[in-house]
């Protein structure tokens, strides 16, 4: 099972990084979604894999999944929605302010002013 999870995490990471490199915003949003999946899964499996033993307390049960990474990831999933929403709204605003949907910006060229 570990191998399957590792493959899934690896594939999500690779696709996420690749999409984040593109010059339009929408693919970057998708890439970040995929990267979020990868990251959440990665943090989650830091608690190691335990099958069929959810961390719901019962008298006498000794085998259970680590609840801490689950709690960390739960809020992360919800926050990742907030991030995606903010990003697409920024993209829409930029699209209608600047007329183009681009993830890149003009490079910095002007020289800094230094008071001597």
């Amino acid at each position: 099972m570990e191998v399957l999870f590792a493959v899934l995490i690896g594939a999500l990471t690779a696709a996420g990084v690749y999409l984040c490199c593109l010059r339009q915003v929408f693919p970057v949003v998708l890439g970040l979604s995929l990267l979020s999946y990868a990251t959440n899964l990665f943090v989650f499996v830091a608690g190691r894999l335990t099958l069929g033993a959810p961390p719901i307390w019962e008298e006498g049960v000794t085998r259970f999944a680590d609840p801490l990474p689950q709690a960390l990831v739960l809020t992360a999933i919800v926050i990742s929605f907030g991030m995606t929403a903010l990003l697409v709204v920024l993209a829409i605003r930029a699209r209608f302010e600047a007329g183009a949907e681009r993830s890149d910006a003009p490079a910095v060229t002007e020289r800094p002013e230094v008071e001597r």
């Binding site: 995490i9 690779a14 999409l19 593109l22 999946y37 499996v45 959810p54 719901i56 689950q70």
Partner: protein, 944 residues
């Protein structure tokens, strides 16, 4: 208690003057004087104890794990410096009231001065190696504010920056040195260091510690080669120059040297460096001062020279030299502060402080001339003034060195004494005597009492301490004893010491000095010819410009503006770091047995991989890409479910649904891109594949590795302490409730930011572009199909019931606030999709802002409620509540917190989605008034 109040009074009192300044300038002065005088009274109230050798101590823990504590200690040395700081401060405050013009912000000025005063008191009273640098940096900061007080002057801004950079850098070195010292000594108490002298000196790090500490002291006390910031600090208003840059702050370095004298004093490295740097500074300052025409520059370099003199004394290695150092600190503070104030008066009355434009002022300002002449004569070391007493002691100490060891020192000291006499003579003779010279159209006269009162008080001290130096003996003995050890014989202070080498040098210095002043015109022309090429200030600004240029080059390289390059750079660097870490690690073999593979899992992962591949293939065809990403998310939630995380699976599914709706809404404004894809950064594919391989491998290694976990802790405490058996939920609302509180706040803020961003599109360019926006594809003829609308309405009560159920059971079974919030959002989203925005908004009056605020309030109030019962924020209580008809029901106060989570998350998500949908209106997308209406032609366009 007393010690803490002495430091705290000026620091807290700094608030008062700006407030009282509204009532006028004199109230501001009184507001500044009150805390200082109170602190002075408190300090002198401790005098008896201090003089009997009983230090007054105040102790409170601050960060015990670091060794940082609020430790103040008034011993003789601290008492001596604190008295100087407060007493001269009082005079400076009075003087400033007369000096600053009526339209200048006197309240702010006093606030800065009090801030400095408190910080400086902290420096000299701190008994902790980590507390001292805190105050040390505060003095640098307040000095920065005061030098740059006249913000409109470029010189002021430059001088302030220069001073901050030099003393700030020295402060960092000092901090490093003091931390090392504390670690080596095994104690951060300064008063305990002397007893560990042997341990400290034997440590291999001892030379490094000494170098770092000396760097801090030398930069602060303007020692060569860091002396150049001090003359530029003279751009400050004159009271600041008198107070910070001659009487007190620049003595902080000397204080530190004296304080650490018992630890490092009388060692070869200390003696060589401290004496050498001090003597060099003393001579250099005196020579430059002689050739300065600007009165403040003359005094600044003179201060540099006198600071060098004291430094040299602290390096001579004998306790009596320490005594002479203390003596000179006192004497110098009196006559130099008086001289600065005197210069301020001249500047104030004549509008100039340039010796080439001024002369013979004794005719028009006799009082000022009298005070200035007396103070300058004291600076020259002429009897019977106090400068003579301390100079004699200094000469006696320096000349006590054997000729064979010290001939160079002798020569430097004698030369420096000659130039000191020379610039002091020049100060008063050129300024006050000879023919009257004033700048065009100026008339000068003696100033009002506010300006001459404070220097008069100082000059009285100059004369009294000259005639009866024994008056200061107890104070100086107490100070020297805490630096160099008690129980020894100290020199008897007297005006007349009989004939001896020091007197001979003094008389020779007066004669040579007078000759130098007589020959000044010829000398100054020659001096200008070989003016020192080593200009520290120029080097500093060259370095500053160089750094700015270098940074610019780097920024241009790194900030290409292409997101992809940043991503690649960050990923690449992380990969390299990982590879390095991997290479340094030891061999590894799996420790945990693999978990069995399930056939269904293989199929689902295969589906996910195909979906990921298709997203990459079709990222331009956005509708498909969104749906495929959703499919990947579903597999991820199944993975959570399979690996025993039902809460995560539920959350992921709900978020997936909401995100898909969000992205579909977005597609209306960011539809498929027809243009061929823009160029990708090179190497994207390679780096991405590498990242995938490495992260996957890392995940696999981690999963097969054993490591200690906190799982048992939460598992065993969840029911007894949190009152819930769903451990994940209990962690969220109880154990890590603070964290959750922060997260929902972030989400709420994100919602509000989205609202603000979209509201901003109702005007300007965005509004115009939005109005002109045409969705490039055909829209469906039936936006709101009848069966969907009807089903949605029937489903609503059931969905809401399910939400209540999921929420209530969350503490003991999968569910809870987050999941319930997402489900209730979905329940309403379905109505929006089925019946349209207007229809739903007319019936569902949801003010999402209100929900966010309410949620945060409810969550916060639940946390506070715990504090009412004396428990920490967010500690939950739980128990069984009997409900009639149902029986006992287990309840935990954390449920209230979870309700807050529900409301906030619901509010934030709804706000984002509804606002986005609302944007369609601005684009001229006709609202529907009835459900199930067909698309009507838009009023502004010819067709659909």
């Amino acid at each position: 208690m007393g010690a803490s109040a002495i430091v705290a009074l000026p620091l807290l009192g700094a608030i008062l003057p700006p407030l009282f300044a509204r009532a006028g300038r004199t109230p501001a002065l009184l507001a500044a004087l009150t805390p200082s005088l109170a602190a002075l009274a408190l300090l002198w109230g401790q005098g008896a104890a201090v003089f009997s050798g009983e230090p007054v101590v105040a102790l409170a823990p601050w960060v015990p794990s670091l060794g940082l504590e609020w430790a103040l200690r008034i011993d003789g040395l601290g008492f001596f410096f604190a008295s100087l700081i407060l007493a001269i401060g009082v005079l400076i405050f009075i003087y400033s009231r007369g000096y600053l013009a009526g339209n200048e912000s006197l309240g702010t000025f006093y606030a800065y001065l009090l801030l400095f005063q408190g910080a400086m008191l902290g420096v000299v009273l701190a008994d902790n190696l980590l507390l001292l640098p805190v105050f040390w940096e505060l003095t640098s900061l307040s000095s920065f504010l005061l030098i740059g007080f006249w913000r409109h002057l470029q010189d002021g801004r430059r001088g302030a920056r220069l001073a901050l950079a030099i003393t700030g850098a020295g402060g960092l070195a000092l901090l490093a040195g003091l931390i090392l010292l504390g670690e080596v000594a095994g104690t951060y108490r300064i008063s305990e260091l002397a007893a560990r002298r042997e341990v400290i000196l034997a440590a291999p790090l001892a030379p490094v510690i000494l170098a770092l500490i000396l760097l801090g002291a030398f930069t602060k006390s303007a020692q060569f080669p860091f002396h150049f910031w001090l003359p530029h600090a003279m751009a400050a208003p004159t009271p600041v120059s008198a107070y910070l840059h001659s009487a007190t702050m620049v003595k902080a370095g000397l204080y530190l040297l004296a304080r650490l004298w018992p630890v490092f004093g009388q060692t070869d490295a200390w003696d060589a460096w401290v004496t050498g740097v001090g003597a060099a500074t003393m001579l250099l300052g005196a020579v430059i001062a002689f050739f300065k025409d600007d009165l403040k520059a003359l005094l600044a370099y003179s201060t540099v020279s006198h600071l060098g003199l004291v430094t040299m004394l602290l390096g001579l290695g004998s306790p009596t030299a320490v005594f002479a150092a203390m003596l000179h600190i006192l004497m110098h503070a009196t006559f130099k502060a008086a001289l600065f104030m005197n210069t301020g008066i001249v500047d104030h009355e004549t509008g100039s402080r340039d010796l080439r434009r001024l002369g013979g002022l004794a005719k028009v300002m006799p009082g000022t001339a009298g005070l200035g002449t007396l103070a300058a004569l004291s600076m020259a070391g002429v009897p019977p003034l106090n400068g003579f007493v301390s100079k004699e002691e200094m000469l006696a100490e320096a000349l006590a060195i054997r000729w064979g060891d010290g001939w160079l020192l002798w020569a430097i000291v004698v030369l420096a004494t000659i130039f000191s006499a020379a610039y002091a003579f020049r100060y008063f003779s050129a300024l006050f005597f000879g023919p009257l010279r004033l700048p065009e159209g100026r008339r000068a006269h003696d100033p009002p009492a506010l300006l001459w009162g404070p220097p008069l008080a100082l000059v009285v001290a100059v004369v009294v301490l000259g005639l009866w130096p024994g008056l200061a003996e107890p104070l100086l003995v107490a100070a020297s004893a805490s630096a160099a050890g008690s129980g020894r014989a100290w020199p008897e202070l007297a005006l007349w010491h009989g004939f001896g080498a020091p007197l001979v040098v003094s008389v020779a210095a007066f004669v040579c000095g007078a000759a130098l002043v007589w020959r000044y015109p010829a000398l100054s022309r020659r001096a200008l010819a070989w003016a020192l090429p080593l200009d520290g200030r120029r080097m500093f600004f060259a370095a500053q410009t160089g750094l700015a240029r270098g940074a610019h080059c780097l920024v241009v390289r790194l900030h290409s503006g292409v997101l992809g390059r940043y991503v690649l750079l960050l990923t690449g660097v992380s990969l390299v770091a990982l590879a390095l870490g991997w290479g340094m690690g030891e061999g590894w073999r799996p420790q945990r047995p693999p978990t069995p593979v399930n056939g269904l899992a293989v199929i689902f992962v295969a589906i996910a991989l195909v979906a990921i591949g298709l997203v990459l293939r079709w990222h331009q065809e956005r509708l498909r890409a969104v749906l495929l990403t959703g499919a990947v998310g579903l597999v991820v939630s199944l993975a959570f479910l399979h690996a025993s995380a039902p809460d995560l699976a539920l959350t992921q599914i709900a978020v997936e649904a909401v995100t898909t709706v969000l992205l579909l809404l977005t597609l209306f404004f960011l539809p498929q891109h027809d243009a061929a894809s823009l160029p990708k950064p090179r190497g994207a594919a390679v780096v991405a594949v590498l990242a995938g391989l490495v992260v996957g491998l890392l995940a696999w290694v981690m999963m097969r590795n054993e490591a200690p976990t906190l799982a048992d802790y939460f598992w065993s405490r969840s029911v007894p302490e949190g009152g819930g058996s769903n451990v994940v939920n209990v962690i969220l609302v109880d154990f890590r409730g603070y964290d959750t509180y922060g997260e929902i706040t972030v989400l709420g803020i994100a919602g509000l930011v989205i609202y603000a961003l979209l509201q901003g599109m109702q005007e300007g360019v965005a509004r115009k572009n939005l109005h002109a926006w045409r969705f490039p594809f055909a829209l469906s003829a039936t936006r709101h199909p009848l069966p969907f609308a009807v089903t949605a309405r029937v489903m609503l009560p059931f969905l809401l019931t399910a939400v209540v159920y999921v929420f209530l059971r969350g503490h003991n079974a999968p569910g809870g606030g987050f999941i319930a919030a997402l489900l209730v959002t979905l329940a309403f989203l379905i109505q929006y999709m089925a019946s349209g925005l207007s229809w739903t908004m007319q019936r569902l009056r949801l003010d999402a802002h209100l929900w966010i605020g309410m949620g945060l309030l409810v969550a916060g109030a639940t946390g506070m409620a715990a504090m009412v019962f004396g428990a920490p924020f967010l500690r939950s209580a739980h128990g069984e509540v009997p409900v009639p008809g149902i029986g006992p029901v287990a309840l935990a106060s954390a449920m209230g917190f979870d309700l807050g989570v529900l409301l906030t998350v619901f509010g934030a998500v709804t706000l984002a989605l509804v606002q986005l949908a609302f944007l369609g209106r601005l684009a001229g997308f006709a609202p529907n008034r009835t459900p199930m209406d067909p698309v009507r032609p838009r009023p502004s366009s010819e067709g659909g």
